[in-house]
């Protein structure tokens, strides 16, 4: 793991550009809106990238502001993962970021494969497109926990060595 890489926020966005889950890891309560904006505006950049680059999931640095660098990732099923990392002088390596994204992707993947995701009484009404959005609902805590865990481990690489 790269040292000094601190995640400020992670956002999962559905193929239809609906927010699935936006987690912020900063203390400021008011600052959360900033990351919601980041997640939302990233969609524009992802759109630009996705049209040019095809096969690769990892989209690289989308843009950076003064304090955060925003990286993007798009799963083969077009679920977008946006990651806002605190900007440091050190260059974050794409390999590391790709690894973090893969971990986030797996967290999402295990959340979406929950067979009880869609409530039974609405099975007809809920479209398949609504499924990703449901995964981020507050009902499914495990997904949030896993995302938080990933962010914690990334920020504290020392703990990864522990068994």
């Amino acid at each position: 793991m790269a040292p000094n890489l601190r995640l400020n926020a992670v956002a999962f966005i559905s193929p239809q550009n609906h927010p699935i889950l936006i987690r912020t890891f900063t203390k400021q309560d008011e600052g959360a809106i900033k990351y919601h904006y980041i997640a939302h505006t990233s969609l524009d950049v992802i759109e630009e990238r996705a049209s040019s680059k095809s096969s690769e999931c990892y989209l690289g640095l989308l843009y950076s502001t003064e304090d955060v660098a925003v990286y993007g990732y798009m799963t083969p099923l077009k679920v977008k993962i946006v990651l806002a990392a605190a900007l440091t002088d050190a260059v974050a390596r794409d390999v590391d970021l790709n690894m973090i994204f893969k971990a986030l992707h797996m967290a999402y993947y295990s959340a979406i494969s929950n067979p009880f995701l869609v409530p039974p009484d609405t099975s007809g009404a809920v479209h398949d497109s609504a499924r990703p959005v449901l995964a981020g609902s507050p009902k499914w805590k495990q997904f949030r926990r896993r995302v938080d865990e990933i962010a914690r481990i990334v920020g504290n690489p020392a703990t990864t060595t522990a068994p």
Partner: protein
Amino acid sequence: MAGPKKSVIVSYSSTQSFLSSSSWTQILQTLNSQLPLRNIHWKSASRPSIRTIHELDVSLVNLDTIRDELASQIPTTLLERPLLNIYVITCENNDLEAYRATVKKQIKEWHATVSTRKNQEWLILHVVRADTRVQSGAFFTLKGSVLDKVRADFNTDKRERCVQLVWSTGTNNPAAWAEFLNKLRDGMLSAFESAVIQREEDVRRSEGQRQMPGWNFCTFFILKESLATSFEGITLYDDALVVYEELEISFYQVLKEKNLSWFGTLISPSPKDDSAPLLSIDKKPYRELILANNITVFDFRIYVLSRQCELLAKASRLTEVCRKVGVFLSAFGRRLREIESEIPPLFVESWIYSSALSAVDQCDSWGSKVDLDAKRPAFNAGKAELVELARNQLDVLGIEKQYLPCKPPFSSSLLVPRPENAQPKSTESISNPQLSAALREPDTFYDLYIMTTNRAIDLYAKSGRRKFALKLHGSLAALDLHRGRLDNALTTYNSLPAHYAPHSWTSLESVMLTRALETHETAKKPKDRDWIHVLLAFFKTYAESGGTELLMPEESKSAYVSQCMSALEVAVTNLESGSYPDHPALRLQVSPAATLDESRDGSYLTVTVHNSLPCAIPVSEISVHLTGRESERFKFTTTSESLDSGKTTVKLFSPTPCHGTFLLESSEIRMQRLLLQWSHRRTSHIKGSRHTAKGNNTLVRIPHDLLAFDVSLRQPPLVALGATPSLLVVISTGRNKIASTSFSLSAPSVVFDYQGITISSSIAASSSPPDSTPDRITLQDLPEDEDIELLIPHSDVSSFHSIKVTIEVDYTTASELSISRSLRLTRVINTTLPVSVNVEDFFRGNRLFSKFIVSTLSHQHVRILNARLEPPDSERSGLKILACSSSKRGIVTVTPAQPAQFLFQINSDGPVREALSLDITYRMLREEVEFVIEEAVERAIVETPDWKLQRIPVVRKLIQLLEADASWVEIYGISGELHIPGSPASDDVLREPAEVVKKMLQTHKHPTTPTGPWHDIRIPVDVPVMNIVAAAEIKLSMQKDTALYAGQPIPATLTVHSTFHWGTSANDKERQYMMQYDVEEMVKEWLVSGKKRGTFVATDDGTFIVPLTLVALHHGEFTLPKVVITALPLADVVTMGSLAIPNTETYQVHGAEKVLISPRGGRSTFVLGMGST
């Protein structure tokens, strides 16, 4: 440092005389016109792929003008010195003498100076005149040419360094130059490559000594940078960039090792540093500073960045320039902030602001030279990011100067939260004039802020990044709000949520909505319709996300929502009414079954309302609409005070007594004048997906209220065929005392005559007569538990089997005068009769016998009480009708297998012109049994009055049991005992009364005088006209007891008596008809002799006699032969083109007679006189 020369230098040399000649000037001019060189492929041994140089400028310089500047130790570009030296010789190709004498020596001299130079190539150009060459021919080739000689003398290695140019004045043939240009290219490339290899070797060596004492990064930098400038010189920008990247990495390494002794301080800001154009490489003497080892890191990094950007710009990679600048400004800004105390206050913000904007300007000026159609959006996006970066600095500066509040969205640009009571920093040191002017005056600042933001928005819009632009619009609105330009702010905030809503970015949408609400509040605008829309949209975002996506502190959320709610409560009372569809804050769940109110008409529906908001919602009315199969609609309503957060169960009441299954159509919740509506009806859009259609529509079952007001239709008690049809409307008041009711009937293509209405019920007298208008009937004051029957005539419907009548009825009960209940019922009534009647007539002189055969048309048993044949007007017609069966015949059952027959004798004075009518009193077996059961239940109730309430259910239950099994029918038909099969379930409350009634019915007998309801049909019957009724009689004219023997001739008379009683000419004695008679042959029994066949004249009451002789052919008992009588066509009357035959009926008077013929015994001898001889 001086900018690198743009071109590669190539020197030329020759004899002075030639160089000053006009032909050389011409050659040089032509050569220059061939330049620059294009599409040079550099295949380097040290590089993996071929580098292509699209265009390379070559400057041709006289060798003498190049001075050796080897004195300088600073490594500069490799292109500073010529890569190639050319010597031009001009002697005739075969002029070997001249060559040997002078030219060779000159070349030798030149060659000696040139070939010693490092990393330089040489080339000898032999210019030959085109015309002389032709002259020379091939005769003297043995001697060899000058060129060959030169080759032999100087070109010792493999590389070809001599080239011949065939030159003719005035012609500019590119082909002539091709070889020379190739050589030029090859020579230059090889020289360049060897130079590069050597320089790279130097760099590597220097890098290897990094750890050694005395190594200097700055020196290394200058050395390595010379490579980059060289690459740049031959337009290999990518390679140049690679060099800078490597240098940057080396710098980071040095940075990591904290070995920055070659640099001055991190920054030693000069007064103008914060506003200097970032990408200009000549704003400071950077190279000198580097060489002097006292450049600051700040300057160093800016230098590297500007060089990189310049190269990128040359490579037309302007988008990357923007990106690089942005990253650099952010990253280095952070570094500078670490030493904030050492630099002037707000230096970083000012520096980033000015640098970002100057970089954009620089990019624009580069961009104007480059064609970047496809990359234009990305370039704009990059510029927009830079402008936004500058704008963010304005946020920070604005907060610092307290021109802007320290809260989102402005505070998002703060990197560290601003301490509460921080002293405003001085802005004195900001050197950007625009910025420092803005920071002196709030309005100027706001103008700058808006201008910068709009610039960013514009660029984002051009690059297609809508979402970035939206975000900036939001910040502009926030500025408007802060400045008190509330209308502007409100307009923006009202329009922004619509952009976030479609993708359910609830968080951002809700922020915009709360801002809009706040603005509205601050502006003290009336809480009008728009405000309510915004508020409802806000509640919607709250409800959709369950409150989790709201970006506000957890504890203040519910307080804020309830505060909004109470504001809404006030607002809705004085609002023009409006409706709002499908709001998600409230969700209604309707129970699938309604319950009856046992004390009055109507039913209750349980509805669970989920309120997703954290506070109670004040409501005034909740209602639910149901629709039935015939699109009748019912409304269930209840009034309510408020709906608490979470689930609330309410009971909705509908006064309409209706039963069946209904579809949940819509529901409404009213808050004073605000109406929230939900449509529950789903129509499946996609045909294929059956799953979506299923289970979406909610069905509600309402049980049947047997005591409720009801209207039913029946066939009238008397159906007269041929008369105006009518139907019976039965109004059952049930438990209600009706104050007034009015109803109308409608059916397709049927006209009801409300004026011709008659009340056929017994209570008609007591209540007020119906008040009928052409389209409605109104009744007043009906007592409870009563059936009021109204007979309504209507137009002919004989073409239909049944008619579907829609009844619209309103009524008010005496107990609840305020509630007007209205029902829309659809009833189907059969117009066909259950029986059919056939008639057969038999004329016997003056009498007529009519036989009526009544058969059932359905599979049901029909019980017929009696059938009567009525004369049209018994006094006048003189008809006498006798029924053949006795009146005590009892009830006849007509089954599909067994029709009933009724025979009547009609005596009349003359022919019957008017129709008789056949009245049949009947009922269906089912009706009879229902009546029997009802009667029995009635009796049981008299004994046990407790069961009174269960009267109707018990009857229904018993009938249900009868329906289950038809085995009781036969026994009932014979004896009247009704054995009800089965019994109600043991836990049924109806079991006990049902068992009692069952027992009673088992001993039931058919009553001697039938009771219960009966139906009547009146069928008009015409008596046929018969012109001639003939009675034929064969009478044996002999004594009564005389024995007859076979073979014996029997004299007989045939008498035909004719009467015209039933015909058109009754009692007309003059009338005559020609008739024909024919005695039937019975060849086995009778031999008939005499006038067997003939004609006669028939008169009224006349008799025609003819004698016959019959001989019986064998013994036995025979009927007499039949006589067929037919009328002959009338000679005088012709109808319809053919001869009219009067209709005739003949009956055989002797038809029932039989004659006994004895066998002839013994022998008879007949003596026949033979006559005299």
